[in-house]
C-alpha cells in the first residue's frame, strides 16, 4: 500500500515538474524582446539599405518616399547613428535626416533643407510621432527601449509556418496603446507580426513582416507593413540593396555629410 502511495506521489510530482521543466527551457519575455530588438535594429556593425515607403490612404491613393538609410552602431553602449536621405518625392529631394540615438535618453535629430542649404536641429521628444507622415513611428524605424515596457511570454504559436513566441508588452508609462502583442520568430528572432491594442482591448494598429530574407549573415525583414485599423491608412515598406558591415565610418553621421550626401553610399 505504501508502495502504491509512493508511485502515485511520484506520478503526481512528475506531472507537475516535467511541464515546468519544459517551460523553463523557454526564455523570458524580456529575453525574447531583447534578442528581437538586437536582431531587428542592431544587426551588423553598420547597415545600408534603399527604402521605399508607400503611404496608402483609405481611398487607395498612394504617396511614395524613396530613401537611402545608413546606420552605424557605436560599440556596446547601444548608441546608434542613422542617416536618411530622400530621393523622392521631387519636392523634398535632397532633404536628409541625421539621428543620434541613445538607449536611455532623447535622440538628437537634425534636418537638412536643401533649398535653403539649412541645417536645423529639431526638437524630438516624442518617439511615438509619425515618421514622415507614415504609419510608422520614429520608434518603429530606429528601435525602442526594452525598459519602456514590461514583457511577458504568453504562448508559442506558428505564423506562416514559422515557430514564434507570442509576447505581451505593456508600456510602463501612459502611451497611445495599452498593450502590444508580438509574434517573434523563435529561431531568427525577428518580429513577424505585432498588434497594438487600445484601452478597450481592440487592436488598432498592426505590423506584419511580409518578406524575410537573408542579407549576408543576417535575416532581414525586407518587406513590412503597418496598418492603422481605425483610420484605414496603411504604409508598406520595402528594403532593397540591404548590406551589413559595408564599412561606414562614423564621420558620415555629422553635419558635413548632412549637407553633402556621401556619394559612395547615397545613390
Amino acid at each position: 500500500m505504501k508502495l502504491l502511495w509512493r508511485i502515485a506521489l511520484l506520478i503526481f510530482v512528475a506531472a507537475a515538474v516535467v511541464p515546468a521543466l519544459a517551460r523553463a527551457a523557454d526564455p523570458s519575455g524580456d529575453e525574447i524582446v531583447k534578442r528581437s530588438l538586437e536582431t531587428f535594429y542592431y544587426a551588423g556593425n553598420d547597415m545600408r539599405a534603399k527604402v521605399r515607403m508607400k503611404l496608402i490612404n483609405p481611398q487607395g491613393k498612394v504617396r511614395e518616399r524613396d530613401m537611402t538609410m545608413l546606420r552605424i552602431n557605436l560599440g556596446k553602449s547601444g548608441d546608434q547613428r542613422y542617416y536618411i536621405y530622400f530621393h523622392n518625392p521631387a519636392d523634398v529631394r535632397g532633404t536628409s535626416f541625421l539621428v543620434w540615438k541613445y538607449p536611455a535618453r532623447e535622440d538628437d535629430r537634425w534636418i537638412f533643407v536643401p533649398t535653403l542649404r539649412l541645417v536645423k536641429r529639431i526638437a524630438a521628444d516624442d518617439k511615438r510621432s509619425s515618421f514622415v507622415g507614415s504609419d510608422f513611428t520614429y520608434e518603429d524605424v530606429s528601435g525602442r527601449d526594452l525598459e519602456d515596457e514590461v514583457h511577458v511570454l504568453v504562448r508559442k504559436e506558428d505564423v506562416g509556418g514559422r515557430p514564434t513566441y507570442v509576447v505581451e508588452s505593456r508600456p510602463k508609462s501612459a502611451a497611445d496603446y495599452s498593450r502590444r502583442l508580438s509574434w517573434i520568430d523563435s529561431e531568427r528572432w525577428l518580429p513577424l507580426k505585432e498588434e497594438y491594442l487600445d484601452a478597450r482591448n481592440e487592436p488598432f494598429r498592426t505590423f506584419t513582416a511580409d518578406k524575410v530574407e537573408q542579407a549576408g549573415k543576417y535575416w532581414t525583414v525586407t518587406a513590412r507593413s503597418m496598418k492603422n485599423l481605425q483610420s484605414g491608412h496603411r504604409t508598406e515598406v520595402v528594403y532593397q540593396e540591404v548590406g551589413y558591415d559595408v564599412g561606414l565610418k562614423q564621420d558620415i553621421f555629422t553635419e558635413r555629410y548632412l549637407r553633402d550626401a556621401p556619394s559612395q553610399w547615397v545613390r
Partner: protein, 421 residues
C-alpha cells in the same frame, strides 16, 4: 563703372561654374543627371484699404507664374559635381518676364576638403527667421509677399571652401556683393522721409579685392552640443541713404561682424544661442545718421514638441546700439527715434494633420520695444506628392515707427499652388 566690374566678375564666375558644370556633365552621365522642377502660381492680395501712390501695385502686390528647372549631377568617382536651378518668371504685377539663375555651381570634393564655385545659397546660424552671423543676401520682398521659404535667401556669387580637419569644420566664403532684395514702392506702400525732388542713385560695392565679402565659420561638436564661431568682412545688405545738395545716394556701408552660436538639447527640447557684434566701420563713433551704428545682437531660442506632430518654438532677440548718445544727437528732425535696445520675441507653432498632408504654421514677430508685430499664419494641403496649395497671410500691425509697424499698409493674404516634378 563699379557696376560693370561687378557684372563682369559675376558673369565670369557664372561662366566658370557653367563650364565646370558642362565639362563634368559627360562624366556625370555615368551617374546620371537628375532633373526636376516645378510650376508655381503665387498671388498676394492687399487687405488694407489704402490710397496707394501711382506706380504702386495696389490690389495685388504680387502675382506671378514661375517655372523652375533644376539639374544635379555627380561624376562616378564622386569627386566632382554640379547643380543648377533656373526660374522663368512671368511677373504680372510689373509686367515683366525674366530668367533668374537661383543657383549654378560646380563642386570639387575630396575626403578632407571641398570647393564650390558659382552662385549658391548659403545659410548660417541657429535663429529661426532671425539672422545674426548670417550676412548672406536675403529677399525681403519674397518674405513679405508670402513666397515659399526657399525664396527667403538669394544666392551669393561665391567661392566656398570647406576643410574638415577633425574635430572641426572650417568654411571660408569669398563672394561678390549682392544686395538684399528690399521692399520698394513698386509693390509696397512705404513712408519716405527723404526729401522729394532730388535725383536718386544707388552705388553698389564692386568686386575689387578690397570690396569682396569674406566670411568664415568654424564649427564642431562638444558631445552633442554644436558650437560655431563666425566672422565676416561684409557690407550692410540694405541700403543707407546719403542726402547731398544735388542728389540722394543709396549705398551699402562696410560692415564687419564676429560672433558665435551654440545649440543643444535641454530638457525635452532644443536650446539655441547666438550672439554677434556688428562693427559699422564707416561710422565707428556713431555720429553719421545715414549709417547704422555698431551693435551687439543676440538671441536665445527654445523649441519643443508639444504633442504628436506639433512643435512650439520661442525666441527672444535683442539689438543693442553701441553709441546711442551720438545717434540721438545726430538724428535729423523728422526721423523716428529708435530705442537703444530693440527687443523682439518670436513664436512659431507647427501642427501637421492627416498624415502630414495638412500643415498649419503660425509665426509671429512681436516687437517688444517698438510695440509692433508681424504675424504669418499659413495652411498648406498636399493633394499628392506633386501638388500642394497654401493659403496664408502677412499681417503687420502696431506703431508705425517700428520696423514691422511701418509695413502695416502692406498686410496681405496670399495663395500659392505648386506642381513639382
Amino acid at each position: 563703372m563699379i557696376g560693370a566690374i561687378s557684372w563682369s566678375v559675376r558673369a565670369a564666375a557664372s561662366m566658370a561654374a557653367a563650364s565646370l558644370a558642362l565639362g563634368w556633365s559627360s562624366a556625370a552621365a555615368a551617374q546620371g543627371i537628375s532633373w526636376g522642377g516645378f510650376a508655381q502660381s503665387h498671388v498676394a492680395w492687399r487687405t488694407n484699404q489704402v490710397a496707394c501712390p501711382s506706380g504702386t501695385a495696389c490690389e495685388f502686390p504680387a502675382a506671378e507664374l514661375r517655372g523652375q528647372i533644376k539639374a544635379e549631377g555627380k561624376n562616378s568617382s564622386g569627386n566632382a559635381a554640379f547643380a543648377g536651378r533656373f526660374d522663368l518668371v512671368r511677373d504680372v504685377v510689373l509686367d515683366d518676364t525674366s530668367l533668374e539663375t537661383r543657383e549654378l555651381f560646380g563642386d570639387l570634393i575630396s575626403e578632407k576638403a571641398t570647393a564650390r564655385l558659382g552662385r549658391q545659397v548659403i545659410t548660417w546660424g541657429v535663429g529661426d527667421l532671425l539672422f545674426i552671423n548670417d550676412t548672406f543676401p536675403r529677399d525681403w520682398v519674397a518674405m513679405f509677399t508670402g513666397q515659399p521659404m526657399q525664396y527667403l535667401k538669394l544666392g551669393s556669387d561665391a567661392l566656398k571652401l570647406n576643410a574638415y580637419p577633425a574635430p572641426v569644420n572650417l568654411e571660408l566664403v569669398i563672394a561678390g556683393f549682392r544686395p538684399d532684395n528690399t521692399p520698394t514702392r513698386q509693390r509696397f506702400v512705404l513712408a519716405d522721409p527723404l526729401p522729394a525732388g532730388l535725383p536718386r542713385r544707388t552705388e553698389e560695392p564692386g568686386n575689387s579685392p578690397n570690396e569682396l565679402e569674406i566670411s568664415g565659420r568654424v564649427s564642431g561638436y562638444l558631445d552633442n552640443w554644436e558650437l560655431a564661431g563666425y566672422a565676416s568682412r561684409t557690407h550692410y545688405h540694405s541700403p543707407a541713404a546719403r542726402v547731398t545738395a544735388s542728389d540722394i545716394v543709396f549705398f551699402y556701408p562696410r560692415l564687419n561682424t564676429v560672433g558665435a552660436s551654440l545649440t543643444g538639447p535641454v530638457g525635452k527640447g532644443v536650446l539655441s544661442l547666438e550672439a554677434g557684434y556688428y562693427d559699422s566701420t564707416q561710422d565707428r563713433d556713431g555720429r553719421d545718421p545715414s549709417i547704422e551704428n555698431s551693435q551687439f545682437r543676440g538671441l536665445i531660442g527654445y523649441s519643443q514638441q508639444l504633442w504628436e506632430d506639433a512643435t512650439l518654438g520661442l525666441q527672444l532677440y535683442g539689438e543693442w546700439m553701441r553709441d546711442y548718445a551720438a545717434y540721438r544727437e545726430n538724428l535729423p528732425a523728422g526721423f523716428p527715434e529708435k530705442d537703444q535696445v530693440r527687443r523682439v520675441a518670436t513664436v512659431r507653432f507647427i501642427q501637421f494633420f492627416a498624415h502630414q498632408t495638412v500643415t498649419f504654421n503660425f509665426f509671429a514677430f512681436l516687437g517688444l520695444s517698438e510695440e509692433d508685430r508681424y504675424v504669418i499664419p499659413s495652411l498648406r494641403y498636399a493633394f499628392s506628392d506633386n501638388l500642394w496649395a497654401e493659403v496664408g497671410a502677412n499681417l503687420f500691425g502696431g506703431t508705425r515707427n517700428g520696423m514691422f509697424g511701418s509695413m502695416q499698409d502692406n498686410s496681405n493674404i496670399y495663395f500659392t499652388v505648386r506642381y513639382a516634378f
